[in-house]
Each structure stands twice: as structure tokens, then as C-alpha cells.
Symmetry: C2
DNA sequence: CGCGATTTGTGCACGTCTTCACAAGCGCCT
DNA sequence: AGGCGCTTGTGAAGACGTGCACAAATCGCG
């Protein structure tokens, strides 16, 4: 320590201060901390201890402190963290100080829901365009936006600076859409289609597959059932569920 | 090795053969392998090498082999894996041999889309009930199912054996719904509401937060921008993107 | 029948993540 | 001013996950 890393200085729009390279596991948790902090701020808290924040975010308090320490030293010993300051810092690191434009491709069942999801707007994003390959869907208005044909992507990209592309098409169309997104310069893609996308180096793809989540739960369900079916060696199998069952990012049994 | 673990014998409905306890990371990948295998089967493949399957699933081949080895020894050296057999095995381990009933609570924007998502039906699940707390939504028919009031949950649970509960309500209502689900014996919950749920031990919760995924992408976007903004020491910063940027479950730059 | 090509299954080493435990620092009270 | 209680920040150890590299096993062919 000692050498205080220059704070991100989110207010100053000057030189970009070269982000600390955070462990990926930490990055994945920062949004959760951010959400919890906003709740705390709304509830009137000005400061919060690592214990309190970690409970609100559903993680271990030591883990939280280590995560936050990667951002710099923004806590006060004996007191805790300044809620407002920490929000500012995390939003800065996550790149949420600018409202990023999102292009959503595929306005079917799921895409329709995403287009209407207000959680995007409230958490730093703006749906800038809705696109679909189906001509019968083009022209439809959803939430104040008109659906355009996916081939207009280049035009859309010049009008708006698209930061992130969201793919909500059937699997068969996803790779083609990904290619089109990459072609217009998109380097971050959120893929809801159940398939693997191949993209050039430097492009990040995150995948969300609803059925996979259910299948993971199904495994644990199956496993619990097979455990209770056994006579078990000493002690009720149910109450003796090993903590190991708790998944990496599966929260389990938060103390009352 | 040597002591071949008795195969799951998915055909036999006899004694439950005590599932091997798989590493959580492996469990999370099995559904992806399963999807790839179904594709391969549809394409007419009878066997597949670890190399081929790993490419289709977007993972390292050594990792795939290690994952599969945890299930038992179902490959043939010099040949590969029998596609049909492997599908059978993975489905057995994941507990997909029975079609599990899912109760979906919250038929708003997102819930509506989930109710109509056919990916559930095609991958081992059956939406058995739609529930909502809003009286004005009760009675509505979606996809052949009538929305019932959430207070009817106990009745629903006696009619059907609910294996998994899906929460697609606003955050404010989520904890209450979770409590209700737990009360009727549900031990696996998929939570789409942006909040932490507290549940008793033995209940598994998985969370999907769409905004969080975007925020993680935003971080990488921000990071890439801050890198290119720097003069950089030797070599284009863009092409020199460290592999470390690739997240744990973020696929990146699959080789063509 | 034996040999070479192929592919699985896995021991081992490495890197990442988690958790404990505690020193260092801060504010408050006397 | 000094001491006490509280909380952060972090070193170190252990658990976990990953990927290489290779021995073991199987098939097909001569």
C-alpha cells in the first residue's frame, strides 16, 4: 500500500487514468455491490461497513473488502465506506459514467421483453435501436422505438455509437447477426441464443442461456433426491447437505 | 480408473445409483455439451471426438475430457464418444430423464416472454403453472395456460409436483414469493429479480440479472477504450489484448 | 498377428479465487 | 492527550479450476 493509486477522479474528464486490471471474478461482483449500494443510498445510509454491504450483496465480507481494495483505498478504518463515493467509483470503473447505447437484434418473444425491460435504462444503458430480419416485424413500434431491418445496421451504427450488441434471435440466425455486429465495429456482445458464437480476437461475448440455468438446478434437484433416497450414513442427509453443493455463483442459505 | 463406477443405468428405474459429486464448474458446462451433442446427433454423427465436441461447445478439449471422465468412462480410445450414449448419460446425470415441472411467478414483461419461450419445453422442462399477484392479470391465458393468483401456490403444488420455481417479479416482491415457494416445498429457484434472496439451507438459488451482464461488458468496453487511448508500450494495444481479458465464462475469440 | 495411427483418460504443475486471521489506522470518549 | 473499540486492508494458506503432455487403449490394415 502506501502509494495510494491515483483515484479514478470520475469527475475529471481529463486523461484516462488507466484502469487497474481487476480479477474477472471481482468484475463480475461489482455490479452486485453497485445495486446494493444504490439501495442503501435510497434508504438514507451515508456510510456502510463491509459487513453490512456484503450482507446486502450476498457475499463474504472478506471477499468484498478484497474486491474493493482493488479499486483503491476508499474506506475509512473504524467507520466503513462512504456510500456515495463508492457508487461513484464503481460506476466509473464499470464505465457507466456515460450512458452506453445498446443495439438489440431479434424482436421475437424474448427480444420484445428485453426491449421493454426498464432495468436497462435505470442501470446505465439506453436501447438505441431495435432490429429484426423478419420484414413483417419491421416498422413495429415498441416502447417508442421503431423496429428496423437488420441490414440497416451499418446506418444505425453511423447514427449512434453502438457500444454493445444484444442478440435475441433464434440460434440459427445468431452467428450471422454476430458477424454483422462485428462488421460495424461492435466489440461487446450479449448472446441469448443457445449456440456458440465465433468472433475475432478482441471481441467479448457473454452468453445467457435460460435453459442451462434450469438444467443446472435440475442437477442439484436430482442430486438432493438421490441423497435423501439413500439410508445415509449417520444423520439426516437433508440437514447434512455439504456446503460444497453451493455453486460458485449460486447463492445458498444466506443466514437469516 | 480400474474400478469402473457402475454406470448410471438410465434405463433401469431401480435403485438410485448415487450420483458422483461433480465439480460445480463441470456441472455448469454439461448443459452446453448436451446442446452440442443434440446438434451433432441431428446432423447424423454417431460418434464424436473430444476435439470435435469441444469445438462445438466452445471449450478446451482437455477440459471436456476431464469433465466427461467424471461421469465415468464412456469414450472409446481411438474412436471417440458415442453420441447417443453420451446424451443419455448427461441427461441422466442432470436429472432430465423426467420432465420437470416449473412454476413461473410473475407474468409481467419478462415473465410473459419466459412463458412463451419454447426452449424450456425442448430441453426437458414443462411450465406447469403461471402465477401473479396482480388480480388484473389473473385469468389471462398465455400459451394455453391460465394465470392463477400467487396465493393459489399451495393448491398448485398439490396438483403438480413442482421441481423448480422461477421468479420474474419486480425486486420488491421477490423475497415474498421466494418464501412462498419454499413454504410449498420448492428447493430450487431461478431468480430474475435484481435482488439477493435469503432462503433456508438446502434450497438452491440461481440468479440471472440481465443488467449485470451488460455492466460486465461495459467494464471491458471501458477497459479496451482506456487501453487504446494510451500510447502503449510497443505494439498496438488492440492486438496485444491480454488473454486475461477473457472472462471465466466469457467465450472470446474462438479460432475460426 | 503385429504395428501404427488415433484418441481417451489422467498425473502434474500452474494460475486464480477464496477465506482466515491479524496488524494498521481511525474516531470517539474520558 | 491517551486509550479503547471498531473496521479496513492484506499476507498467507488452502481450495479449486485449467491446460499440458503423455501413457494406455482401441481400431484398422497389411
Amino acid at each position: 500500500m502506501s502509494q495510494h493509486r491515483h483515484p479514478g477522479a470520475p469527475g475529471r474528464a481529463g486523461a484516462v487514468p488507466a484502469l487497474p486490471d481487476l480479477p474477472e471474478a471481482t468484475v463480475a461482483r461489482l455490479p452486485e455491490y453497485l445495486r446494493a449500494l444504490h439501495n442503501l443510498a435510497d434508504a438514507g445510509h451515508e456510510t456502510i461497513s463491509s459487513e453490512g454491504l456484503s450482507a446486502a450483496a450476498g457475499v463474504n465480507s472478506a471477499k468484498l473488502r478484497k474486491d474493493l481494495s482493488h479499486l483503491g483505498s476508499y474506506g475509512t478504518r473504524g467507520v466503513g465506506y462512504d456510500v456515495a463515493l463508492l457508487i461513484e467509483q464503481i460506476e466509473y470503473v464499470l464505465g457507466l459514467t456515460q450512458r452506453r447505447a445498446v443495439a438489440l437484434v431479434g424482436v421475437g418473444n424474448l427480444g420484445h421483453a428485453l426491449a421493454g425491460y426498464d432495468g436497462f435504462a435505470s442501470r446505465g444503458f439506453r436501447i438505441a435501436a431495435l432490429l429484426d430480419a423478419d420484414p413483417s416485424r419491421v416498422g413495429e413500434e415498441i416502447n417508442g422505438l421503431v423496429v428496423r431491418h437488420v441490414d440497416e445496421l451499418p446506418a444505425v451504427a453511423t447514427e449512434e455509437s453502438i457500444a454493445i450488441g444484444v442478440i435475441a434471435t433464434p440460434a440459427a440466425a445468431a452467428q450471422r447477426v454476430a458477424d454483422q455486429l462485428v462488421a460495424v465495429g461492435v466489440t461487446s456482445i450479449l448472446n441469448f441464443a443457445p449456440c456458440v458464437l465465433s468472433v475475432p480476437e478482441g471481441v467479448d461475448v457473454r452468453k445467457v442461456d435460460l435453459a442451462i440455468e434450469l438444467q443446472i438446478l435440475s442437477f442439484h434437484e436430482h442430486r438432493k433426491a438421490s441423497l435423501t433416497a439413500l439410508p445415509a450414513t449417520g444423520g439426516s442427509a437433508l440437514t447434512a447437505l455439504p456446503g460444497g453443493l453451493a455453486a460458485t455463483d449460486t447463492q445458498e442459505a444466506i443466514g437469516t
